[in-house]
Amino acid sequence: MQKVPMELVRPGMVLARTVTNDAGMALCGEGTELTDTIIERLRRMNVSHLTLKGHPVDMGDTKTAEQKIDELRSRFTRVRNDPLMEKVLAASEQAITMLDDERKAQEAAEGEVS
């Protein structure tokens, strides 16, 4: 899943989340494959970003799991040595690793399909 600004959205990309209007009502459903017409319509409704399936655009902003864990540890610097906080930190590190593994597996699967 990736959040992409409208300027970089292209036909064929698939919505990972339903697009909603100002009042939170659905404009375009999750799973829709984008066409020029849909993109143009959303643009006219001032939608600025879309959440897309997979990772279709390389925006040079993808952090590795190691980077994420480093940042995580730095957020915990003021509460080290407390057993409860160490537990929360360890669980968060594990969560980052699990999500990273899932993402990699998903990308591998998508690569095989296309």
Partner: protein, 282 residues
């Protein structure tokens, strides 16, 4: 304690004007106190302010309340979520209007805390998870007040956080001698928020001191730390705060698989970003 009360009074005088609430919100606050008010009346009142009505619908249709994209009218929202939630949502929709523009980090921290509180409450089977989410959405409202009404002090606090690397709350206590939780408590009283919301706002840094609604205070206190752990939003400083062991045990957090919970929270919190996807014009 009494010096703190005195100090709050001094502050209250200094804060000559509260952030002005739209007339509609003021009316609403008294309206929902009345025992025979109907969801239809309240819906009509909120909808009479179009901008506010749209913002409220946007919030109740966000994933935080579990009915994404499915609530089409405000009276429908009131029936599903109850008056307390609507009151909190209307307040945040108007007060946080400013945050969304100039305090994006705090807004994201607040939305994130609402998501995390809702998720924890549901997992633990606590009553009224929507209300707990709403308390979390408002828990840092005191910071907004400092920013809006005591902007010189706010700048000093930000400066102290940066230069001395201490938490926002520690810096507040140095500069103002009270913290945002106490200011939030005072503000809750001025706005006659129900205790279910005001007690978690007041107690989210001191959950062990809570005498009422201990569960709700504990959830908001823990959510504040976990949303920081996930690195979502900016609550005034970059650090995860100490979680009270007692609060943790009060709601039985050890019964949950903690890494599975953190994974779910990190996924759920993508919704915070998703929320900003909504058209900029609104």
């Amino acid at each position: 304690m009494s010096t703190k009360v005195q100090h709050l009074k001094v502050l209250a005088r200094k804060i000559q004007s509260l952030p002005t609430l739209p007339k509609v919100v003021e009316k609403l606050m008294t309206m929902v106190e009345s025992p025979d008010v109907s969801p239809k009346d309240v819906g009509k009142l909120i909808s009479s302010d179009q901008v506010l009505g749209a913002r409220v619908l946007r919030l109740v249709n966000s994933p935080f309340y579990g009915f994404p994209g499915r609530i089409s009218s405000i009276s429908h929202a009131i029936i599903l979520l109850g008056f307390n939630v609507i009151k909190g949502v209307v307040l945040s929709a108007s007060v946080f209007d400013l945050m969304e523009r100039s305090m994006v980090g705090l807004w994201e921290h607040s939305l994130g805390s609402a998501i995390v509180s809702g998720a924890i409450s549901r997992k633990l089977g606590l009553a009224e998870p929507e209300e707990i989410s709403t308390a979390a959405l408002l828990h840092d409202i005191g910071k907004v007040l400092v920013r809006v009404s005591l902007s010189a002090d706010y700048d000093r606090i930000v400066d102290v956080v940066k230069t001395r690397q201490i938490s926002f709350r520690e810096a507040e206590l140095e500069v103002l001698e009270v913290d945002h939780a106490q200011i939030g408590q005072w503000l809750s009283r001025e706005w006659s928020l129900p205790e279910k919301l005001s007690i978690p706002i007041a107690g989210h840094h001191d959950p062990d001191g809570a005498v009422k609604f201990k569960d709700r205070v504990a959830v908001v206190h823990i959510a504040d730390a976990l949303v920081r752990a996930c690195g979502i939003g900016y609550g005034g400083d970059p650090w995860v705060g100490q979680i009270s062991r007692k609060a943790w045990d009060t709601i039985g957090m050890d019964s949950l698989d903690l890494s599975a919970l953190m994974k779910q929270l990190m996924e759920d919190l993508e919704e915070v970003e998703m929320y900003h996807q909504v058209p900029a014009g609104g």
